[in-house]
């Protein structure tokens, strides 16, 4: 079971590197907005191809999430430190990025440019193109999950990339998000030292 779970989370560096270069080609022709549209549709299409979920209680959902049975945690190792605060321990694109830097060179600037575009047009929470896929997928997957009849909502709190770059939610949003997540800003900084992503989960 653990082996299967490990295999599910692991990425495919060959495809990840190829896809990154392909995305760069798209950006050459269609700019950051074209690349962003492609990333968003890629992640949305993936979420839509996965089965819908229903849970009777919040606890049932949390158990499924942490065990990796939920579609939300299908591609990432998720832990929870409060019932509403989820943490991705390692970015699922790490291996692909490492392979890219080894085989191709430094990550093309377009991957951060497209994130800036996303942050200004959608929500300010991404560091690079990989975060766009990741966060869009999570939000689209959440729409397929019902807990006690209510649709799951997810909001990004903070992300850290492999090189240490951080993206924390804007100051005006942060107190509300931390309150919903039931953590303090000190907790957040402690979490960010050795994890990849922090997000809050709730229903309305």
């Amino acid at each position: 079971m653990a082996e299967r779970r490990k295999g599910l989370i692991a990425d495919n560096p060959f495809v990840d590197v190829a896809a990154c270069l392909f995305l760069e080609d798209i950006a050459d022709k269609q700019g950051a907005s074209g690349m962003n549209n492609y990333l968003v549709s890629l992640a949305t299409s993936l979420a839509k191809s996965m089965p819908e979920e229903e849970y009777a209680t919040w606890d049932d959902f949390l158990e499924s999430l942490v065990l990796g049975n939920s579609i939300i945690s299908a591609f990432e190792d998720v832990i929870t430190i409060t019932p509403h605060c989820a943490i991705t321990t390692e970015c699922p694109f790490t291996k692909g990025w490492q392979e890219y830097t080894k085989r191709i060179g430094t990550f093309s600037k377009i991957h951060t440019d497209v994130a800036e575009y996303y942050n200004s047009v959608y929500k300010p929470g991404t560091i690079n193109s990989m975060c766009i896929i990741h966060q869009t997928f999570r939000n689209a997957a959440a729409e397929r999950i019902k807990i006690a009849g209510k649709i799951l909502k997810i909001a990004q709190i903070a992300a850290v990339w492999e090189d240490g770059t951080r993206r924390i939610s804007p100051d005006e949003w942060l107190p509300v998000l931390l309150e919903k997540a039931q953590i303090s800003s000190t907790d957040l900084n402690m979490i960010l030292r050795n994890n990849a992503d922090v997000w809050v989960m709730y229903t309305e």
């Binding site: 299967r4 295999g7 599910l8 060959f14 495809v15 890629l42 993936l46 996965m50 896929i133």
Partner: protein, 210 residues
């Protein structure tokens, strides 16, 4: 995750742009990756084979590749002009497993793309991922020179996730390797291909011409 996301697009893409569109898409992805990996030059076959073993060539991104040095390819004069190489595990095997446990099944377009590739390009695909692999290797070979000579990569045989195989008998005939021998290699390897000097006068080709 990105691999599963890309695969989830295949069905949609094949419905909108046809399976030919998906073939072109995968071919472009493979081509783009190979081109961006840059050029390589080696003094001779031994240095290339060592680089391959140590994971330094572009071919190594696919995983563990073994140079079958007992299977040297010789030209009409008996000079070594290439070797046969074998990839231990298809780089897409883990992706197929991930699709099984996350989405459920491979899109129907998977086999349709492979079939179209076998009919319109060459009969060497066991699944849609073979398109990206094979195009990638062809392009990588163009970027590598050994003793100042450009290379070619020729697909010889492969085994799919469910055990189905493809053996390129015509290519094997040209390089003078028995198809049954290559079939036995598939018991231990997922993909077998030849890397050889471009334009080499192979024994099998000469016999064919005669």
């Amino acid at each position: 995750m990105l691999d599963v996301a890309l695969v989830s697009l295949i069905q949609d893409m094949s419905e909108k742009a046809g399976v030919e569109g998906t073939i072109q898409y995968w071919a472009r992805v493979g081509e783009s990756l190979a081109k961006r990996m840059g050029k390589e030059a080696y003094m001779g076959w031994p240095s290339f084979n060592v680089a391959l073993r140590e994971g330094r060539t572009a071919f190594s991104i696919e995983g563990s590749v073994t140079a079958l040095t007992d299977l040297a390819i010789t030209d009409v004069d008996g000079d070594v002009v290439g070797y046969i190489y074998a990839l231990e595990t298809c780089v897409f095997n883990p992706t197929i497993v991930r699709i099984r446990y996350s989405v459920g099944e491979l899109p129907r377009a998977d086999s349709a793309v492979a079939e179209e590739y076998n009919n319109s390009v060459r009969d060497t695909a066991v699944c849609n991922f073979c398109v990206i692999h094979q195009r990638f290797r062809e392009e990588v070979a163009k970027n590598i020179s050994i003793a100042d000579q450009a290379l070619d990569c020729v697909q010889l045989a492969n085994r799919g996730f469910t055990g189905d195989t493809k053996i390129a008998e015509d290519s094997l005939k040209k390089i003078g390797i028995n198809p049954e021998y290559v079939r036995s290699l598939l018991r231990n390897y997922a993909c077998v291909y030849a890397i050889l000097m471009r334009g080499a006068r192979l024994k099998g080709e000469e016999e064919e011409d005669e």
